[in-house]
Symmetry: none
Subunit: 139 residues, 4 copies
Amino acid sequence: MGDRVTDWGPDIIQIDKDSSIPIYAQIVERVQTLVQVGNLKPGDRLPSIRSVAEHLRIDYNTVSRAYHDLDMAGTIRTARGVGTHIANGVDEEVIQRTRQTKLESTVSTVIADLLELGYSDDEISAAFERIISDVERKD
Amino acid sequence: MGDRVTDWGPDIIQIDKDSSIPIYAQIVERVQTLVQVGNLKPGDRLPSIRSVAEHLRIDYNTVSRAYHDLDMAGTIRTARGVGTHIANGVDEEVIQRTRQTKLESTVSTVIADLLELGYSDDEISAAFERIISDVERKD
Amino acid sequence: MGDRVTDWGPDIIQIDKDSSIPIYAQIVERVQTLVQVGNLKPGDRLPSIRSVAEHLRIDYNTVSRAYHDLDMAGTIRTARGVGTHIANGVDEEVIQRTRQTKLESTVSTVIADLLELGYSDDEISAAFERIISDVERKD
Amino acid sequence: MGDRVTDWGPDIIQIDKDSSIPIYAQIVERVQTLVQVGNLKPGDRLPSIRSVAEHLRIDYNTVSRAYHDLDMAGTIRTARGVGTHIANGVDEEVIQRTRQTKLESTVSTVIADLLELGYSDDEISAAFERIISDVERKD
DNA sequence: GTGGTCTAGACCACG
DNA sequence: GTGGTCTAGACCACG
């Protein structure tokens, strides 16, 4: 763990410039999810604002605002001259619990949305099984 | 078909005022989904702009903008002094196909997102089956 | 092509505030005609919403609405913080065809209107030839 | 001359309910043109508001407003119990002059518009001659 | 009552 | 500076 500097190419963070969701909000959302799910660990170093801006081809100020919001939220810690790191305070057990919660809430939400649109549970099940088994076949 | 007036309480259209997705876009998106999926049929009457504004506690102009965009997109037809109705032109067969496509793309997207966050296909399957069987039990 | 900034004084876009045709619709119509006819090319930059509003002495929101509709129609592309440009996608061949169609439909319509008002084809021809030869003399 | 009651079916007056030009304004415009051009003569009786509304399938009040505006403009005279007639005051000579003026201004305007859109006078002439000779052939 | 347009002004996001 | 959204309120057209 420790000091991996993930260099955020379009692989780690995809942003959609045409989305009505502000770019800075997309970044904040994404980083928080990666932390909650355990893909970014406390102490991991984040790439510099300038490098993120360059890789994602967006403005410095936009990234700066995202980092600022993440700092406010306690997700990251910025220190002058040291760089930016994922904050401590989220211990492994919490992460595991959050990881599970996140999975369930995501699945629950999508199922609820589909039911509300009038799909039957059988239709949903069938679609799900077809698609997940496609994925398994690829492994 | 015909003249069912869907009364859009916060039930039919939920909007999230804090979302970064513009309110008018949320309304447009929602109505288009309901039409695509067959929950709103050609000829169905939509509630008046003023009543939607009141129910959702948003400004007349915001709803008006949503209706205007839906009109431009061909989803609805408005008539001075008369009201607003779902436009013709989407035949039943297309709806059935879209309905299926929409289901699959929704499920695919959520699965892809979860895999990308590092969940295994087994974890996803397990969560899905647990939740969908809860739903079936309620029937 | 490229980046010509058309500065829309009252020269390029004339709007008639007293017309019963909405101002925003006049702007939409005008820009679409200029594109269809080839006077505005893909990539050309449009003047900013604020500058159009100022030149035409109308409200920012009215121009904004016109640009929004043009964007939805695929005629232009707007980008946050960057500006507005004529969209790609209309190839030269289509423009030439549209150009010709537009000319013919305009002439046909005016002739039909005049005939319906009781002018004879000889009267119309005579008037047309007199006026067009005035124009040619000026060249 | 005198008392022809032209019963305004869609033949005499075409209105476009989807136009952004108000229906009442379309009626006013049309009647004034017919008078200016000599197709409606002083003393000619106009159909009743009720009958126009019925024939054009529009609201009584809309026609009423058009008649009111025409009255204000001096184009028609409404007298209780007598009906509505084209007003006097436009003598034959004026009509002939207006008729000619109207023709020329219509043709001039369309030519100017087309020139401004970048059509050459040769293109315009060619299109005009092709179309007008089509018309003559039909006679 | 139903839809539509416009202005004025506040505030946001991006560069 | 450039685009975008929202509210509040006035006023119009149609039925």
